[in-house]
C-alpha cells in the first residue's frame, strides 16, 4: 500500500465516512472499521472505473443529479459561448465574424466608463462588504444567550429574502431628501439634506450599504458554521493558558476560519465583474446611471433588450475570462500566503 493510501485510510477512519463493500454490502450494512478492510476497499477502487462505481454507487447516485445540473446549465453553455464570435441568425446557420463583436464592445464610447464603474463598485464591495459577515459571525459567536442569538440571527437573515425591487423602494423612501428618515435626522442635527440616490458621490456607497444590509446576516451563516466546527479543545487549551475572549477570537477563532475565508474570497473574486445586476437596475436613475452603469446593465441594455445576443455573449465571455484569471491569481496568492486555496 502506498503512503497516500495509508493517509486516506487514516482520514476515512477518523471521519467514519467509508461505505461498506463486498458481498452483501449496501447502504444499510455496517460500515467497515478495520484498517485491513479499508485497505482492501481502496485497493479494489483502483482496479477500474466500473469497480469503483460498483463499490461506491450510492454516492455516485447521490452525486448524479448535481453533476447533471452542472453539465446542462454550466458546461453546455460553454460550448454555446461560440456565439460571441458569430452573427447569430434566427434562421440558421450563424455566420462566423471572428472578433467583430469584441471590437464593437471595446470601441463603444462608454464601455471603458462602464468597465471602470464595474471595477470600482466590485472593489468597494470586496473591501467593505466582504469582511462584514465575518465580523457578524464572530460577534454572534460571542453571544452567550441562545435565545438572544436566535432572535438576532432571525432578524439579520430576513433582508436576504427581500427582492431588490423592495429593497430599492425601502432605500429610496429612507433616503428621500424631503421626508426620508435619514435626511430628517441629518436636518435635525443641522446638516443640509442630501439626495443620496441622485448624488454621484454617494450612490456607490448606497450600493455598498444596501448590500451589507441585505446579505451580511445570511452570508455570516457559512462563517458561523466554520466557527462551530472548531474543536472545543482548542478553546479549553487557550483558557488554560489564560487567554481572554479577545485573545481566543484572535488566536483560535480567526485562524480556525481562515480556510473558509480564503475559499469564499477566491470564489468572490471569480464574480468580481458581476457587481449585481438586480441591485443596480433597481437603484439606477437618470442622474446616477453614468456612475453605476456596470457591464451587466450595459449588456442588458445593449445586448438583451435589443436582441444583440452575440454582443451580450461577447461581454459575458470577457467577464468570464477576467473572472477565471482573478480566481487563479487569488488561488495562487492565497496558497502562498495561507497555504489554503480552492484546491
Amino acid at each position: 500500500m502506498v503512503a497516500k493510501d495509508k493517509q486516506r485510510i487514516a482520514i476515512a477512519l477518523k471521519h467514519g465516512n467509508v461505505p461498506a463493500h463486498g458481498s452483501g454490502s449496501g447502504m444499510g450494512s455496517e460500515p467497515t472499521s478495520t484498517e485491513s478492510e479499508l485497505a482492501s476497499t481502496l485497493l479494489a477502487s483502483r482496479t477500474g472505473m466500473r469497480e469503483k462505481v460498483r463499490q461506491w454507487w450510492p454516492y455516485y447516485a447521490m452525486m448524479a443529479p448535481g453533476l447533471l445540473f452542472f453539465f446542462i446549465w454550466h458546461y453546455v453553455p460553454i460550448w454555446e459561448a461560440k456565439m460571441a464570435f458569430e452573427n447569430v441568425r434566427i434562421i440558421p446557420p450563424n455566420i462566423w465574424v471572428g472578433w467583430k463583436n469584441f471590437e464593437v464592445l471595446f470601441s463603444s464610447p462608454i464601455f471603458y466608463q462602464v468597465l471602470a464603474n464595474t471595477l470600482i463598485i466590485s472593489g468597494m464591495k470586496i473591501l467593505f462588504v466582504f469582511p462584514v459577515p465575518i465580523i457578524v459571525a464572530l460577534l454572534l459567536n460571542e453571544v452567550r444567550s441562545g435565545k438572544l442569538r436566535g432572535a438576532v440571527q432571525s432578524a439579520i437573515y430576513l433582508p436576504h429574502f427581500l427582492s431588490w425591487v423592495v429593497i430599492a423602494g425601502v432605500f429610496i423612501a429612507l433616503l428621500s431628501p424631503t421626508d426620508g428618515a435619514v435626511n430628517q435626522v441629518q436636518t435635525a442635527m443641522g446638516f443640509e439634506p442630501v439626495n443620496y440616490m441622485t448624488n454621484t458621490g454617494t450612490i456607490r456607497w448606497v450600493l455598498v450599504v444596501s448590500e451589507i444590509w441585505r446579505s451580511a446576516g445570511w452570508d455570516s451563516l457559512l462563517y458561523l458554521a466554520a466557527i462551530f466546527a472548531i474543536a472545543p479543545e482548542l478553546y479549553e487549551a487557550a483558557e488554560m493558558d489564560g487567554a481572554n475572549r479577545w485573545q481566543k477570537i484572535r488566536h483560535v477563532t480567526i485562524p480556525g476560519i481562515v480556510p473558509t475565508i480564503a475559499t469564499l474570497f477566491i470564489l468572490n473574486m471569480g464574480m468580481f465583474l458581476s457587481a449585481d445586476l438586480n441591485q443596480i437596475i433597481n437603484m439606477q436613475n437618470a442622474v446616477n446611471a453614468s456612475t453605476i452603469d456596470i457591464i451587466d446593465t450595459y449588456v442588458y441594455r445593449m445586448g438583451l433588450s435589443t436582441g444583440e445576443y452575440a454582443l451580450a455573449t461577447a461581454a459575458g465571455l470577457f467577464k468570464a475570462v477576467i473572472g477565471m484569471a482573478l480566481v487563479l491569481v487569488s488561488h495562487f496568492v492565497s496558497k502562498r500566503l495561507t497555504g489554503k486555496g480552492v484546491w
Binding site: S108, P109, N195, V287, N288, M302, T306
Partner: protein, 474 residues
Amino acid sequence: MTLKKLLLATTAIAALGAMAMPAMAQTTLRLVSKDLLTTNPDDVKEIEAIEAALKAQGTDVDIQIVDLPGSGYADALGVMLLSGDIPDIMYFQGGDQKMAEQGILEDLTPWIEKSAHIKDALWPHNVDRLANYPYLLYVYPPRAPQPVMRKDWLDQLGLEPPQTVEEYEALFQAIHDADLDGDGTTGNTLGLTGYGTTAELDSVFNQAFGVTGTWMKNADGAWVSSRVTDAEKAKLEFYAELAAKDLFDKEFVTNTWDVKEDKFYTGKAGVIFGSSPEVIDIYTGKMRQAHPGEEIDLALLPAPSGPGGQGLAAVDVSKESRGWAISSLSENKEAAFAVLDFMASKEGQDIDRMGFEGVHHTTDASGAVTYTDQISTWYARFFNAANWTSPTPLLSPTAQQALDNLKSDFTPDNAFVWPADYAADVDATEQVYRSWVAKFITGEASFDQWDQFVSEYNAAGGSRMAEYAATVLK
C-alpha cells in the same frame, strides 16, 4: 388494375382526404402578446369571441395563445424567437428591429394596401411610421402626455387653465402657496410632479420653447440634435427655475409612476401628466377612490404658448415602438392578417373596446348601449381604430378633449431609425443627456456648465450621429 388494388387505392384516397379535410377547414394560428394569457379568463373569452365572429364571416381559425410573462416580456419574447419558436402573430414591445433585420417579420405594406379595414383604421402617425418601418402595426392614437389637475382645486384658486408658460408658473406657484389639500400647512404641495425623466413635461413645453423636433438646423444651416440647442437650454432653465422654487418635484428622478400618482392623489402635488386619454380617466377613478364621497373631476390643461410657439411635442414617426407583427415564416399569413384586419373592423373593435355584453356593457331593446362599472377593468388587447366610434361615449369629456388635442395638434417629428452600427452612440448620448438634464434641474450642475454638457454629448457619439443625420435629412 385488379378490384383489390382499386379498393385499396380508393380507401387510401378517402383516408387521406378525411385527414386533410379538418386542416383545410380550420387554420391554427399561434399568437403571442403581453396582454393575452391563457390564465386570464377575459383574454380567453375574447379570443373565443374573435374566433366565432371570424368563423361567421367564413374564416375558420383556431387562435392558440402562447403564454409569456408580462414582466420582462420583451426579453422573454426575444429569447423565444431566438430559439426558433416563432408564432404566426407577435406583439412586440421592443427588440423587433433585430428580428426585422433577420428577415423574420413580414413587410405589411402589401397586406395593408389590400386590407378591408386596417387601411381605414390607421391614425396619421401610423401611416408615416408604416412607410418608414413596415413591420409593426400599432393602431393607437399617438402617446403624448398631457397635464391634468383637480378641477375643484382650479376653481378654488379662481384661475383659468393656463395658456402661456408664465401662466403655468403662476398656477404652480398658486398651488404651492395655497393649502388646497387642507392639511393646515401651506407651501407643502408641489405644483407639478413627474417620474424618471422630463419626457412628460417636454410633451407640452417643447414647442413653447422652440424645440420643434429631434433634429433642428443651427445658424449655419447644419442639422444638430435639438438637445444641444439654445431652445433646449431655455426649456431646461425653466424646469430648473420651477424646481428651485419647489414648484416642480426635485425627486422626479427617483419617482416611479406609482409614486408620482400617489403624490397626486394624496395632495402632495397639484398637476401630473396622463400618458393617454384612457389613463386620464383612470386617474379620475383613482382620485375618487382616494377621496370617497367627493365627485372629483380632472381638468385638462392645454399646451402653453411660449417664446418658441405652442402645441404638443412633435410625434416620432420613424417607427412604431411597439405593435403587432406577422412572421414571414408563417404558413398561414393570410389567416394571420385576416385576424388583425378583423380587429380593425367595427365588429372587431366592438369586441375589443366594449368588452362583453352583460358584463362590461348592456344593450337594450332599442340597441342603446350602456357601459357598466366593469368597463373600468376592461382594456383593448389589439387596436384603438381611428374610425371607430363608441355607441355611447367611452371617455369622459376631459379624456375626450385630450384625444381631440392629439388629433388636432399632430406634428410629425424628423427622427429616423438608426442603423445597428449607431446603437452604442444612441445609448451613450441618451445616458449623457438624461444625466445632465437631471443635474441641471436638481441644481447639482449649473447652466454655466452647458458647454461642458454639449462637449460631453458630442464626444459620446453626438457628433457622429449628427454627421449621419445630415445624410438622411435633406
